[in-house]
Structures are given as structure tokens and as C-alpha cells.
């Protein structure tokens, strides 16, 4: 560590610390690489693939791939943008996302990504899966319809809260989030203040009795696209 290396993203020279991921290095250089499963307080996971970049022509997830001296990274090119757009559209059709009456609307990272990419409707047919809800917990509500299987709650509960409340069960299209309890979420030791509740990028984990406390129009992505915070600091 401590060693500085140089590589390029879309032709721009980037200086980075050895051991940083491409995503971290880009962010430090005020370049936003779209992402969904990545979260600054959690271990890199590499599951959503929204942050896919081409490193010397090879596809990699920027959130897990360490920087390499002299690497040529493509991030904002038409080809990479198109791949990301397709992945975001896949996430929309895989679940049941009802933005217009979702409490997370305006603060939702998936929705914000769609806006940033100019997606008005997905090209793929909706799969309309049957997914279960769990409203048993006194303070927290789970709606698997809106879950994108990013694993943030799994990692936060395990690594930050030290509770292992969440984990995935099943595989492939049957994969879903499950709780550390025989019956339901009420049977776990999840607390409303847990990190796991906080990190959900979509409206799958919601706090009860908070509905529209922040009115539409004053939410995180109502006026600026997702990633603006990273990019605007560049101007200063």
C-alpha cells in the first residue's frame, strides 16, 4: 500500500493507490461508475454487474477488480453503457417494481439508475414472479417483490451488525432473501436501527410508520441524477 499507480478510464489518466478497486479509484477521481450492490460501508460483492467495465477489453466488475498499472479501462463508452442499461432493465422485469406508489420512490437507487440511463420502459417482458411479503416485525417491513438480490442486507447484518439476520436461500431464479428464524422476520433479533435496514437500495426493506415523511420533490434523486455527488465535487 501507499504505492501510487496510474491507469486510464475512458482515456483519462487516473492515479490510484495499489489495492484500490477500479470503482474506488474512479470515485476518488470524481468519475461515477454506476453501481447497485456496491456500498461504501460494505465488502465488495460483485453480483449486480451494473458496474461492469472493460479492462484491457475484458469485462470485470469495477467494484471487485483491483486497479492495475497501465490498465486501459472503458466505462462510459456506448458499448459498456448499453450492457449496463440491459442489466438494469433485467432487474426491473425480474421483480415487481411499482415505482408510482413505492415509499422508496425518489430515494430508490434502481429507479435513479433507470432515470440516469434514460430508461422509460424495459425492452424485456415482465416476469411477474410471485414473491412473499413479511410484515410481522414491529418496526420493519419486507417486500420481496422489490428485492434485487444485491446482498447488501446480508453483508450489513453479518459484517456490521454482527447478527446474520439475512441470507439467501434457493438458487437461480428461485433465489430469495430469508431470515434467521424458523417462521418470520419477527422471530429474528433485527432492530430498526440496524445497518441492514439502512442499506437497502430499493423498497424491499422499509421502516414502518415512516411513509412519505420526506415528501416527493425533496428526495435524494428528485432533482439530480444518481452519482451527481461524486461528479459535482469534480467541478470544485
Amino acid at each position: 500500500m501507499g504505492d501510487k499507480i496510474t491507469f486510464t478510464i475512458d482515456g483519462k489518466d487516473i492515479e490510484a493507490d495499489a489495492g484500490q478497486t477500479i470503482l474506488e479509484a474512479a470515485e476518488a477521481a470524481h468519475m461515477y461508475i454506476p453501481r447497485l450492490c456496491a456500498h461504501p460501508d460494505l465488502q465488495p460483492y460483485g453480483s449486480c454487474r451494473v458496474c461492469t467495465v472493460l479492462v484491457d477489453g475484458r469485462p470485470q466488475s469495477a467494484c471487485t477488480q483491483p486497479v492495475a498499472a497501465g490498465a486501459v479501462v472503458e466505462s462510459g463508452t456506448d458499448k459498456v453503457t448499453e450492457i449496463r442499461r440491459q442489466i438494469i432493465e433485467m432487474l426491473f422485469v425480474e421483480g415487481n417494481h411499482y415505482c408510482m406508489f413505492c415509499e422508496k420512490s425518489g430515494n430508490c437507487e434502481l429507479q435513479a439508475l433507470a432515470y440516469r440511463f434514460g430508461i422509460t420502459a424495459p425492452r424485456y417482458p415482465y416476469l411477474f414472479p410471485h414473491r412473499d411479503l413479511d410484515a410481522t416485525h414491529p418496526d420493519v417491513f419486507i417486500d420481496r417483490n422489490r428485492c434485487v438480490l444485491c446482498g447488501r442486507c446480508v453483508r450489513a447484518s453479518r459484517d456490521v451488525d454482527g447478527k446474520n439476520v439475512f441470507q439467501f436461500v434457493g438458487r437461480g431464479p428461485e433465489k430469495r432473501i430469508a431470515f434467521n428464524s424458523e417462521a418470520n422476520l419477527a422471530g429474528t433479533n433485527l432492530d430498526v436501527m440496524d445497518k441492514a435496514v439502512d442499506v437497502c437500495p430499493v423498497g424491499a426493506i422499509l421502516r414502518k410508520r415512516e411513509g412519505f415523511r420526506i415528501p416527493v420533490g425533496r428526495r435524494a434523486y428528485d432533482h439530480v441524477p444518481i452519482g451527481s455527488d461524486i461528479e459535482t465535487t469534480a467541478a470544485k
Binding site: P44, Y45, G46, S47, C48, R49, V50, T52, P59, S61, T64, Q65, P66, I83, Q86, I87, M90, L91, V93, E94, R123, Y124, P125, L127, V148, L149, N164, V165, F166, Q167, F168, V169, G170, R171, G172, P173, E174, K175, A178, F179, N180, S181, E182
Partner: protein, 606 residues
Amino acid sequence: MTENRAGTVRRICQDHGGDRTRMMDIVLAVQKEFGYVPSAMMDVIAAETGSHRVEVESVVSFYAFLSSRPKGKVIIRLCDDIIDQMAGAERVRQVFEEELGIRVGQTTADGRITLEHTPCIGMSDQAPAALVNDVVVTELNGDKAREVARSLLEYMDPDRLVREYGDGNNAHELIQSMVHNHIRRRDQVILADMTPGEALNKALAMSPAEVIRDVNTARLRGRGGAGFPTGMKWNFTRRAAGTDRYVVCNADEGEPGTFKDRVILTEATDLMIEGMTIGGYAVGANTGIIYLRAEYAYLRAYLEHALEERRRQGLLGKSICGKQGFDFDIRIQMGAGAYICGEETSLLSSCEGERGDPKNRPPFPAEKGYMGKPTTVNNVETFCCVARILEKGPGWFAQIGSEGSSGTKLLSISGDCRGPGVYEVPFGISLREVQRMAGAVDTAAMQIGGPSGQMVGPEDFDRSICFDDISTGGSIMIFGADRDLLHVVDQFMAFFIEESCGYCTPCRVGNVLLRKRLNAVRQGLGTAADLQYLQELGETVKLASRCGLGQTSPNPILTTLERFRPLYEAKLKAEDDGLLSTFDVRSAMSEAEAITGRSSVHFSKA
């Protein structure tokens, strides 16, 4: 009862040292005891291993051969892959359903027998086949299926189903299986005689670096399909920082249509173990693991015996062959029904007692593999090659085969041919020669390398099998002129959907979308735009998926779009009528029709 059960589960956990990294063994043992892993017992396992209930549930729910719901004492798993279908698996299923009075996926009312489907069990050369608990039954037809079902209903004893033993070690007292080897061509590397210890002694007379040099000189490349240079992999592992290195043998032969490792495991057992032992010496490991697919559980006792024999002969254990300081032993890790575990990092996750999710790379296993330690994972056949290289010399090995691909390759040939079975051939053999050798006439297509490989037609039959042309882990399926190749493609896509771990978006979602659109086209609802859709979506899944499964899963569609495009074009609507290929007005209205109790005036069945 719960208390008694809990006592048993505690004992099982304690037998495994309460070690959560041995979760696979623990849940397999619990399932063996009760026929499933009861929900209440997950809490006990979690408590005993310092894990969490949901982590146990996560593992159990991942593997097809594990269940959290009660199943029959006898589980019949009918292989339903394409080769079995072609050989009459449908009739076999009908008979089982009739005789047992249940459908696939169900358990008899008395709770005794469960009937299921399972993907390729490594018996494509003797299809249709099924697993009855651990017992393999092969070459089924309606009559045999009836006999099997009736015998099970009467005696509930899978062992009774085996009346005659197969050839070679299939008749060994620790196997006693009806499986046949069907070895149809032997060559000098894998399926030749060997003297246990000879190659190993030669290796031990050299330094580890010299052993790796020989493997490099022989230009050995991995036989699992990817073709990575073995010596280079070993060098990375040897040089990686850290202690406690591992050698892992990938015997999770899951690619549909391949069964050559099944034959190696029984007929070249010593060669394989010797190769692993040499690998242990070369990379500086003390422990080896054979990851054996659940479908081959019937070979486990025999393999344990083979390991024990070698310990007895001083070829495993402490100071091997009298070489002070070289201690190496091997354990067997059972899988539990997951194709993805053939991917090396998934295999390691599974060995560590986790879901078989692939790991992020880097770090690569050579650096941080099993339990975070430097690990080399090689194919069963690769280890055999290593032993032979050390025995006969790298020069001898390198002169076999073709320019960039030295040595021989085992091919598992199945489908429309007279001689399905295992063939050891030098690299460089042409596909036409493969057909001739296997007795295939009027071949329309060959699937090389299984569903993850490619489908080729007559214009490619002069191409050859080697790393520089058509590379394969060994699966070759032959399709005659009367086969519906797009049905084959559909079945391959169904396989990948079933076997995707679901970790990354493109593979989890993309394959479902691909199959849906493929079938819309097959039903005559598609236009040229739908072929474009398949192409673009397929390329994205290939490019953006996280591991080899997703990176190859669109191949059935992409390779046939390229080489068998007229098959698709023949299905397209003559005229674009402006209707969406994905929208079927009939099924869209079915629910409303059911509720109102009358059918649509405008869209009633034509």
C-alpha cells in the same frame, strides 16, 4: 422425537468437530439419518457449529440433493437430459408415474418413495438412466422401469435392482454396480497399465521445481475444458505466500454428456491419485481433496478403499515412499447436486461448507483458495496425465497429439451413434473421424463440450479437437438428421436456468429471458427482430456474467444462431403482423375468463 433427533444431530456435528466448514458433510449425514434436514434441526446444527440457522438453511436450499422437506426413504431420480430423452426417458417416466401412482416431484401417499427429475448423471452412454438413492440403474425402458418400480414397492431395497454387475471395477465388491465402462478406444496415456508408485518415485527423485518443469515441458493443459497450462497453475500455487497449500481434484463431472471421469475413477484410480500426490509434492501441499459429485456417491467406498490401500503401501500419508518431510493425504468431499460446483471457485466454496457460489477473482485459488490458502484445482484427467508424464517423460508425452495440444483426450460420446462410450484419442482428431469411430451415420449436428460448448454442423466436420480449434472437456453428443435441434437448444437453456446459482443478474435473469424468447420463436410467434434480440441478449449474458456458467450459458442459442440459422428462420412469421411475440392474448385472458365463467367473444379459440 425432536429431543432424540437433536441428540443424533449433536453427535453428527461433534463427529465433525463442530466445524462449520464441514457443513456439507454434516447436512449430508443429517439427511442420511432422517431422509431430509428438518427445520428444527437447522437450529441444532447452527448451535453446534457456531453458525446461524439461516446459514444452514441457505446451504441446504442450494443443493438439489439436499432437502428441508420430508422425502421418501427411496428417492428415484430420473435423468431427463437430452440424450436420455432421445433414448426414451419419457416412456420411463410414464411407467414410473403409473406404477407408483404419483407424478414427478411427488412422494407416495405412504411417504415411502419420491420421484424426481435430475440433469445428466454421467450415464449418457447407457441412457435412459436413473439414480435410486445411490444406486445407478441404466438402459431403462418401459418394461425395466415397471420391474424397478414394482421391486421398490415390494422390497424398498435399491440394492436388489442390481442383478448383474458391469465390467471392470464396476463389479468390485465395494461398487457392485450395473454400470458399464464402454471403453471403446484405449491409448497410451490414461487407459493404459500402470504400476502404482513408479511415477511418484520418479517425481520424488527430483525437486518440486523440476517436476513442474517437466509438466511444463510436456505442455500439459487442463483437461476440464478451459485448457489452462497445468505447470503454470502449479507454479503460481507453489510460489504464493502462505502455508498449508492444497491440491484439489475436481471430480464434479457435471457437464451434460460427459462421463469419462466416471471411468477414470474406477479404472485409472491409482493413476489419478498418483497424479494428485505428485501435485502435492510439486506445489508443497500436505492435503488433497477429491470433490466427488453426489451422482457418483456409489463410487465413494471404493475410492476410500483405494486411498487406504495407498496409505498401506506408503504411497500416501507420512514420509511418502520414504521421502522424509513429504507428508500428503487425501480426503473425499461429497457434493450434493450442483453443476456450478464444477467451476473451481464454487467447488472451493462448497468444500468450505458454503453455498456453491463462485468467488470473486482476483484473488485466484492459486493465491487464496481453499480456506484462503494457496490451492490448485485440477481435473481428474489432468492428474492422470501428470502421473504419466512423470513416468514416461515429458518428451514422450509432448510428441503425442497435435502441435499446440499434447497428449491424448478422453471423449465421452453419446447420442445417435452405434458406439456410445469412452474413447481415448490423440488431440487433433477430426470430427468426421470421431463420427466414423463412434459409428455415427447421417449426422446433422454435434454438440462439442456439452451445453456450455458449441453446436457444429456438417460444414465444420473437418475441424479437429484440440485447444487451437474445437476445445472440449470431453462431452460429445451426436444428433441425427431427424432430431429437433431447437428442442435440444431449449433443453440446454432449461439446464442452465436450473443450475444457475443466481448470484449475478445477467445469468439469473438473462437465461430465463433467452429461453422465453427462444420458445416464442419456436412457436412461430417471432420475427427477425426476435433473432436480433436473442443475439444481443445472449452476448450481454456472456459478457457480463460473473463466472464460467453464465459466460457460456447463451452458447446453445448463439452457436445455433450462427450455424443453424435456417432452423430459426423457418419458424419466423411470414409477415410481421405487428403483434408482440411475447404477448399471447389467450393466456392473458385465461384468468379473467375463469373468474367470469365465460370466454371472450373476440378471441375465443380459433
